[in-house]
Subunit: 190 residues, 2 copies
């Protein structure tokens, strides 16, 4: 993990501007917002945007990084302060919310290819999988969740709910989450 030299001040400033513009644009238009338009809003040329974020995916990841970190922190807080089953449930609800915001940006990120994560090392997939594991493991141990359940399972299920309900209301999404949350609980006969 070599770290080259520190970026020039204008580079840093422009990167921040692009990120701010991207946040706005994704909030309004969703994950498919025009990158050209984002550059324009940020007051930089398209070339500058692409230098900082070679692929749309990188911009998604950068915009989400902060939120994902919060989500990871939340996992630890919940795991520390609540009964395992309850913590899992609460975290899944928070994750669903995350996956649905900005017209499904978070959910889209989870469904994207993912081979070889973005340069500026922040691996959303891994971070979320890790957080899920930290709320899931205690629940599994205490018998509050199925013993055969993996972090990937819960993450993909909830991301799926987010993706299939982006165009529908939040109440639909919560209804579906109620159903799968049920599926994750340990079963008497299982």
């Amino acid at each position: 993990m070599r770290m080259g030299r520190a970026p020039r001040s204008d580079a840093r400033r422009n990167r921040d501007r692009v990120l701010a513009a991207a946040r706005e644009a994704f909030a309004e238009e969703g994950p498919g917002a025009s990158l050209n338009e984002i550059a324009r809003r940020a007051g930089v040329g398209p070339g500058t945007l692409y230098r900082h974020f070679p692929a749309r995916r990188d911009l998604h990841a950068a915009v989400l990084a902060e939120r994902v970190e919060r989500l990871c922190a939340l996992a630890d807080e919940l795991a520390a302060s609540r009964p395992a089953g309850e913590a899992l449930d609460a975290w899944l609800r928070a994750f669903l919310d995350h996956a649905r915001t900005d017209h499904g940006l978070g959910g889209a990120m989870m469904a994207e290819p993912g081979d070889g994560e973005p340069d500026l090392g922040f691996d959303c997939h891994a971070a979320i999988r890790g957080a899920a594991e930290r709320v899931l493991a205690p629940a599994r141990d205490e018998g509050a969740a199925r013993a055969d359940l993996a972090a990937d399972d819960v993450v993909q299920l909830v991301a799926g709910i987010a993706l299939s309900t982006v165009r529908a209301g939040p109440e639909r999404a919560e209804r579906l989450l109620d159903l799968v949350a049920d599926a994750l609980r340990a079963r008497p006969g299982g």
Copy 2:
């Protein structure tokens, strides 16, 4: 439901050619395949493609119509020939398969807007919801499925699995379906 006059023979031929080209293209590239390229493959101009299918959505629907009809027929066969719980389970597996083929074309269709279905009356959403209801109702009645379960619930859950696993292998999708299938069964305490 006025039906104007019968379409001209060349119109019908071109429509079929476009449909065949679209099937190929979607199979190779997924739901986002270039419509221009589809027109080119079909040997027609872009204008012709757009006259027959004003929106990408219409082309999706037309390509899927036949498959969806098969899926609906399957629902009836299963409902007639198997125990309710088993029929539901088998149909969900078939639906998942459908939703995943062509890089998630079927799943994408279910997630698309849907206000005002395509002109040439075939409403994929309604058809699938109807089929789901026909396998779900008996299961509900016999206590093989949760009493509070609606057709929309199962359809959206399975579509979600399809969407979140398009980039992953089929074994992931089946794994997730096993989990939600469990959730749909009636629970002892519930």
